[in-house]
């Protein structure tokens, strides 16, 4: 038995529209606080992926792909490369693989920023998780729609 994904309720549609930006913001929040507090790229990525999956259930495949804009598979590739880059910064600056490197930046609005390779690594993880979860979900949804 094949269920049409578009037969979802009005409540779900309305809620999903509201929740999508909120969940995406939450996922970024989780990603950024992850170094010292609970959170991180993995959790953030899962939240972002579930936000888009919710959107998919409320609307349709096309609209979900529209929200994502890129092929989730290339998100995996980019994410892996970003994470690897974070690992390679160490050797490029004379340290071992995955060595932490930090810079302090002063940005006009945000103020003092303490940025390092761990956050870069987490961004990579975030992208890989979003990419892989959505590859699963979209592939399954596509087979469901026939």
């Amino acid at each position: 038995m094949r269920r049409d994904l578009r037969s979802s309720s009005v409540i779900l549609k309305a809620a999903a529209q509201l929740l999508l930006p909120l969940l995406l913001l939450l996922s970024l929040f989780l990603l950024l606080r992850g170094h010292h507090e609970p959170g991180g790229g993995f959790i953030g990525g899962l939240v972002a992926a579930s936000a888009i999956a919710l959107h998919l259930f409320a609307t349709d495949m096309r609209s979900a792909r529209g929200v994502l804009r890129v092929d989730p598979r290339s998100l995996m590739g980019v994410g892996l490369l970003v994470a690897l880059l974070a690992g390679i910064v160490g050797p490029l600056t004379g340290g071992p693989l995955l060595a932490g490197r930090w810079v302090d930046l002063t940005v006009p609005i945000l103020g003092e920023l303490h940025l390092g390779t761990p956050i870069l690594f987490d961004v990579g993880v975030y992208l890989v998780v979003v990419g892989s979860v959505l590859t699963f979900v979209l592939t399954l949804a596509e087979t469901g729609e026939g």
Partner: protein
Amino acid sequence: MSLLVALPFLIPMVAGSVSLLAWPSRRAQRAIAVVGTAGQLIAAVVLLVVVWNDGIQVLAAGAWPAPYGITLATDLLSALMVLMTGITGFAAALYSLPTISSRMERNGYYPLMHMLLAGVAGVFLTTDLFNLYVWFEILLLASFALLAMGQERAQMAGALKYVVLNLFSSAMFLSALGLLYGLAGTLNMADLAVKLPALDDGGRVTLVSMLFMLAFSIKAASFPLFFWLPASYHTAPVAVSALFAGLLTKVGVYSLYRTFTLVFTEDVPWTHGWLQVSAGFTMVVGALGALAQTDIRRTFAFLHVSQIGYMLMGLALFTPIALAAGVFYFAHHIIMKSNLFFLSGVIYRLGGSYRRDELGGLWTARPWLSLVFLVPALSLCGIPPLSGFWGKLLIVRAGVDAGSGWLLAAVLVTSVLTLLAVMRIWADVFWKAAPQDRPVRRAPLPVMLWVVTVGLAAGTLWIGFTVEPLWALAERASAQLLDPSAYIEAVLSPELP
């Protein structure tokens, strides 16, 4: 230079990621596959040379010293295994070019292949048991996907057995990790080797070590939990089953070699006694299973199980010459066995079947190919002067020195059974006249198939005719395994930048 230790898995990781980005372009993916695997092979060669000249190489990831951080290290055994990974990976990539269907290429065959190679190299390089588990999962995930990719019924049935049994083994591995961490408070293998002897544990470590042994034995496909291998290997595309045959079980055997020489050496008569039993049964049962098969790929899969027994026997006897013989066997076996799987794919191309009874006439139709087939086939049987003969001779000598009569008997029985199984393939597929309804195809073979099979056969011949270089390497590797003090020291006190 310490980055060199990580290159064998960094290169396939980068290649895999770029390959994901190049998803729409098949041509780009194929180019990346060749370049990536060649890169891994080159890194592996350099690594082996450096380890041979300068001793054990260590890399403390993130500058966290062991046992707090994850440390990577290569001794000669690791370096040799990484080299074998490079060779098999490169050969499989070349073989994939003309054989893998465009549908599989579009479904992500090449990224998965890179991921598998990264996982295998990671297993060989890590010094941390938990990290080992993670690499195992990476390579298993990739192998599940590669196995199930064709989406045929037989593949699903084979993949299911493979997945269930390997997940079971992973769960066991993970529980054993938890128990060991509870006992010793560390999972760094070098650190464990220092701490475990000082632990008054009343045999609990030995108990945990048996859990590890069982988990690794499943992955190594040794008796009694080997049946997933003959059920699944022959269902995958040829390039994949050759890659699996070369590497996947070796990962399990390598883990046994590493842990049961470095960490779990408290109660050698007990643990290695069990390994002897397992080795003996694996050999004989695998060879008996091979005799019952008509599908040539299944025959080779059973013979593969049987050969795992020889490698285990090297570890189980636990003498310098036995370990060296085991290491020698590793190298010989990977090259020979992956070549046999590659060649069975070539046979399928020509004869249109994998079944002995439906094939025939290859000797008259394709004499050169038959000669290429003879090299790994006779090497598998242990006919002098090919590599398998030396491998078996060394194992037998180790057995004689250790005075274990029944294992020797198992080796000899297995040799005869193996010879019988291989000669039946030879007689049916090559000598028998081709069946009326299935003449041997005349179309020329793609060049890459010749390159791969002839190249690997040349490797087998090289090992056979110049035994000395590989034997010297194996002896030094075995000395490092039996006296792990250098490894422990290198891991626990790496120079920090």
